[in-house]
């Protein structure tokens, strides 16, 4: 059973609300272009699109402060972008250029950016969680008061890394916000075929950790949940778990024939799409006109156009530097 599309008044000032809309559109337009560029073989390797899930990153990122830390997965273009990594650097990275945010060495799955404390970009499912626990431990020991936001998919919950990390964070009351993006599938494996207990909040509660659930297709609900969670973590009472219920509109990666779900299900979820439902609500409230939407969208596409230009003009890392940064430069 799929819930009704997100609806109801948007409780934000116009500027903030349009900002959320712009955030989601920037991800959407960037990734639509990425899919094309993959077809043109400008982008290679694995490419995991976030299309359909934009409300989660949009809602969550605006709940974080600049001094906070972010850890993400291989499906992280949107997270990097909204954390403040330039679209230019992200796309150049997917092009494998030295102007890329990882000098072309990471690619789509491994975006990194020290200036925004964006700690990547991890492609071993579950591997980001222990890292986040450690970042939070450092912040606590250094008295920095940072919150570490750790994004991961529901598939990671079956991994031992989830169990061990949740326990450590809760046992040591560390400032981690565990943001689980439950898009119902891990590649082709539906949640019910991977978890004996499909209520993820019950699993989190078993660590004595506060857990909440939010509609990940509703940027308002996502933002409110993230705000509550981050505030609670910042108080110093320990970690919080948030399940964002969302859905991936595209294939898992560009190699996925999608044998495991039917088109109808995808259609039903698209009816709950985060962008069109949110803009409809804004219009209903008179916060947004079709022209204004078009203008925001145009700006997003313009940003993408410039990013493609930037990436195309990028330079390859010299082969002579292949071994650079395997260890620290001396």
């Amino acid at each position: 059973m799929i819930a009704a599309p997100p609806s109801g008044p948007v409780p934000y000032a116009r500027e903030f609300a349009l900002g959320l809309l712009a955030d989601m559109l920037r991800i959407r337009r960037l990734e639509e272009r990425c899919a094309q560029l993959y077809g043109e073989m400008k982008i290679r390797g694995f490419l995991h699109l976030y299309i359909g899930e934009e409300a989660v990153a949009a809602g969550a990122m605006r709940a974080l402060a600049p001094e906070d830390s972010v850890v993400a997965t291989y499906r992280e273009h949107g997270h990097a972008l909204l954390r403040g990594v330039s679209m230019n650097a992200i796309l150049a990275e997917m092009y494998g250029r030295r102007e890329g945010c990882s000098r072309g060495r990471g690619g789509s799955m491994h975006l990194f950016d020290a200036s925004t404390r964006f700690f990547g970009g991890h492609a071993i499912v579950g591997a980001g969680l222990p890292l986040a626990v450690g970042l939070a431990l450092a912040s606590r020991m250094l008295g920095e008061g940072r919150v570490t936001a750790c994004f991961f998919g529901e598939g990671a919950i079956a991994e031992g890394a989830f169990h061990e990390s949740m326990n450590l964070a809760a046992l040591w009351k560390l400032p981690v916000a565990f943001f689980c993006e439950n898009n119902l599938y891990a590649m082709g494996t539906a949640l019910a075929r991977s978890e004996s207990q499909t209520d993820l909040c019950v699993k989190a509660a078993a660590f004595g950790m506060p857990a909440m659930r939010a509609d990940g297709m509703d940027v308002v609900a996502a933002h409110e949940a993230a705000k509550r969670a981050v505030a609670k973590v910042r108080e110093g009472a320990g970690p919080v778990f948030v399940e964002f219920q969302t859905y991936r509109f595209r294939a898992h990666s560009m190699f996925d024939p999608e044998l495991y779900r039917d088109k109808a299900e995808v259609q039903r979820w698209k009816a709950r799409g985060p962008i069109h439902t949110f803009s409809a609500r804004l219009k209903a409230q008179g916060m947004l006109t079709e022209e204004q939407f078009a203008e925001i969208d145009r700006q997003a596409m313009e940003e993408v156009r410039r990013a493609v230009e930037f990436a195309e003009a990028g330079t390859p890392e010299p082969v002579a530097d292949l071994l650079l940064d395997v260890c620290a430069r001396r």
């Binding site: 494998g96 690619g107 799955m109 071993i124 079956a158 031992g160 890392e317």
Partner: protein, 329 residues
Amino acid sequence: MNAMREISYRDAMREAIREALERDPRVFLMGEDVGRYGGTYAVSKGLLEQFGPERVRDTPLSELAFVGAGIGAALGGMRPIVEVMTVNFSLLALDQIVNTAATLRHMSGGQFGVPLVIRMATGAGRQLAAQHSHSLEGWYAHVPGIRVLAPATVEDARGMLWPAIEDPDPVVLFEHAQLYNTKGELPAAPREDIEHASVRRAGGDVSLIAWGGSLPKALEAADALASRGISAEVIDLRVLRPLDAETFLASVRKTHRAVVIDEGWKSGSLSAELAARIMEHAFYDLDAPVARVCSAEVPIPYARHLEEAALPQVPQIVGAVMQLMGTSA
């Protein structure tokens, strides 16, 4: 007679799995997305429909537990084929493989055996970067109690699985991701050998020793060398543990020169063991030190040109041979 037909490595592996499932009711396939998804590399596509979810079993993301469950099921009388998506992820299950599967028979005084086959993709070349491009076959080849196979041809993809399943001990089978799309001639009755290396091309001047994804490169290099008047013998190691030293030593004793091609990082790779073995047993037959063409010691980078520079390539193999022959490439 043994009629040939053309088939892809992927399809050959699928046929081998299907045959095993048909031939022995104790056999089942278990791993992440082997069923409904059809297999990450589409190897198991269609098997769920034919054999059902009990015997083509999708697992949660739990490498340690489902590999361990495979070990337990083998102890319990089944003949599991466990698929770990790639060797990188197998690190999460390494404890079960090294500390349990490989030790049980000896540690129990011979009472318990683990007739388990673990299949995994390995290798780089598809711009998957530093967490999806490892070649750790050499690590597995270090562990007593397990057999390690690296089918490089469609015939071996088709023929090595069944004897691996019949092996009363754990077998780890590596499929180089770059091989799945390769096509080749498959005999009606493929060779079922998991003991020996093979001479893939006879030659007299130098021995090229390779396996898995490096075999095609070695054969290509041999062609290039032939055009320069150098006759290279190409050995396909096939079995990484226990090593079939006789075969590669016989070749080196004949050619007096050897180049080992290994996609692993050079330091501490299997190529080192091969070089050491050759020195130990054929030192006085060598006209020159054994050369090694391996991957650069770097986490494999994403950018295509950097990845290519990091991996063993045909020109390097040719260059290494020319150097051994005392002529610069």
